[in-house]
Symmetry: C2
Subunit: 183 residues, 2 copies
DNA sequence: TGCAAAGTATACATGTCGGTCTACCTAGAT
DNA sequence: ATCTAGGTAGACCGACATGTATACTTTGCA
């Protein structure tokens, strides 16, 4: 049971977009790496943007599931929140780590790329609500604000970790998250 | 006294790079907007990368100075830190706000763009040290870590504010910064 | 066996990119 | 008056981008 052309395209595009950013990956590179004919791309997707939608949607789902797995293994909401930051630290140790693919994607889009912009927004909203649910389970007085604060720490730490090429920002953010959650 | 071609190029490029991102702005657009001949660009700069270095260096200095102005007007270190987040909120209200130009720049670079990558790293280090100096003046027990935490909040809040098109993430981050600084 | 769906291979159209070349034109200082 | 530094105008180049057209091959199934 080999993978179909569409499946190979989506996963290959996801990997390349993650590593290099949307506008630094061309059609030619994608089909070469996916070992697929040029026309197979355009028979399965209407355009590069369509392929990008599929690739980033898959990335978004994978990230959500990784967070769910990390929280499910934790013994309580507070431990779950810390586990999410531990997940970030693990991701940042990968040699091909380039920060948050969705923040990076937003940096490549223009006013006309409404569908991809919306995908980024929905992705971040989803992560934020995951934090919000956890702090609500803890009985935090303002779960919406605390959810926003944890998301900012997460996003900022991942961006800084990429720029510094060091996981120290993520460990610091984890510590800040613990303090905010305890208060 | 009209501006020289080099000055017009640098400021125009800075504005366009900020608004659209490095790889979405072409030479042709820059020289058109700067009202400068094509050859004037290459007489003053060796390449687009050189112009980008000048433009982003100017942006970095401007941002550092804006932060210094905000902290100088504050009556103490804690107020200075909060003033930096108020500055972020003000910046995010501009119609052309697109998040942090340096995080965005990093998202456009490849392994070969060493000079611009270094510029991003130095810029973030500078901001981090500004936070670090302020918390050290407050007598914080671990100023390096707290400086990293404030930077993560700042960067994450600015990114999220751009994605959500709302300043709520910045106000939440300001509140988190206050709590961390007090503890 | 035969047919339809999926995939392949490749040439091509069209546009934009960063960058170079040549020739010309000032404005100001000596 | 002339020379020079800085600026201008526009044709041009090679490389690469997304996307299309056409004709051929494979594969699974009825």
């Amino acid at each position: 049971m080999t993978l179909s052309a569409a499946e190979r395209l989506t996963s290959t595009a996801a990997r390349l977009f993650q590593e290099k950013g949307l506008s630094r990956v061309g059609i030619n590179e994608i089909i070469r790496e996916a070992d697929v004919a040029r026309m197979s791309l355009y028979n399965n997707f209407q355009s590069k943007e369509d392929l990008a939608m599929a690739a980033y949607a898959a990335m978004s789902q994978a990230r959500r599931e990784a967070i769910n797995a990390a929280t499910a293994a934790a013994k309580g909401p507070k431990e779950a929140i810390l586990a999410i930051f531990d997940l970030a630290e693990r991701l940042a140790q990968a040699p091909s780590f380039t920060g948050c693919s969705f923040i990076n994607l937003a940096a490549h889009l223009g006013d006309d790329d409404e569908r991809l912009t919306d995908l980024v927004r929905r992705h971040k909203l989803g992560i934020r609500l995951q934090f919000e649910d956890l702090v609500r389970a803890l009985g935090a007085p303002d779960p919406v604000m605390l959810g926003r604060q944890l998301l900012a720490l997460w996003d900022g730490a991942i961006a800084d970790s990429f720029i510094e090429n060091d996981t120290a920002p993520i460990r610091a953010a984890r510590d800040a998250a613990a303090k905010l959650v305890e208060a």
